[in-house]
Amino acid sequence: MFLTAIITIISATFIFGCARPTTHIKAFSLASEELATLAMRGYEVLDETTVQRKIAEVAADPKQIPDDDTFVGLLEGQEDLAIRIMALDYLRDYSAALGDLSTADVRIDIDKASKDLYGALVGLRDTFQEETGKDAGIEDEDLAIIATAVDAIGTVIAEAKRRVAIKTIVIKADPAVQNVSKLLRDEVPIFGEFVKANLSTIETEMIKSYQRRAEKLTFDQRVAYIQQIRKQHRITEKSGNFFRDLGTAAEMLGSSHAALRKAVEKNKFTTSEIIEHIGELADFAKSLREFYKELLESE
């Protein structure tokens, strides 16, 4: 009985292992994709809270009227800042294409994933260079090697060749992924301070408005107003954690990819370290998603 069970487990591992040894690559790509998307939302929060703060500033002073500048966010018209979102967009595309490539069943899907991957890697490289003036760490020769490896997967998909292609992609793309994740890790918390000051300014003006009007309001109206201020206060306080976590998430994207690289270099497509990283990425994505939802609900 015990022997039968062991044989069943070994057989299942063998069968499923051979059929789709890259399941964790897909899970990794999904978690990375979501975190990159949430990081992009962070930049949107930066822009939106800047506009909301300007509106509060204008509204606080009856002598002021809104002008074009009132409705301009921090990133709008600032090419060098807006390019961060593009880098994240490419990082997300890269993660998605890697996941698609790891699970595609037919050649046409491999070709699509390959095309997306090429676009993402070129974009990642170019935006990083434009942003920092530094080399992203991925050359044209690397892209050619990746294209050859993907092409070798064949019309009838050979799992062994798929693994070789994924290994090549992860190794060649890793320097660019590391560079971009480090840039975001360093930068995102800076923007977090700005967002918190935006939100704190809005809260201050809500309190000032309450001060001016309180005597003329009924008890119920005052309670309702204070509840609004409380909501704003909670968002202001939480925003600091949100951006700190986004910075950590950017760092985790880099460290998870590094763990993936380490594994595939040994021809392993799943390790306990990768599984642990995937779990952490998913947990982070969950908490970030919850804050973002709360922020949207407060508008």
Binding site: A60, D61, E203, K208, Q211
Partner: protein, 107 residues
Amino acid sequence: METLRSNISDTVNELNKLLKETTDPEEEEKLRKLRGIYFKLWEEVIKQEIDNATQEFKEAIDSLKVARDAAVQAKEDLQKVAEAIDRAVSAAKAVDRIVKLGIDLFA
């Protein structure tokens, strides 16, 4: 390491706290204008590469600290709000010497 952005961030937060306490319309107006100026300076600090090894940088950091201390004291004693505003103006000028935005500062 000290950064201009963090010091500006802390100063804006102190100005906001002081604004909540004060009830003098003229002082409120000045504090709001100053806060707006700090946000503009902050945007420039984010955009520019700031050399933190210069004397101007050190002076700006020191001025911002003085401005914050003055704002904290003014919260306790509202007679000191005018002085806190003066300190915040001086600090904004010190930051502007670095980012060269040429903002029209009152006082």
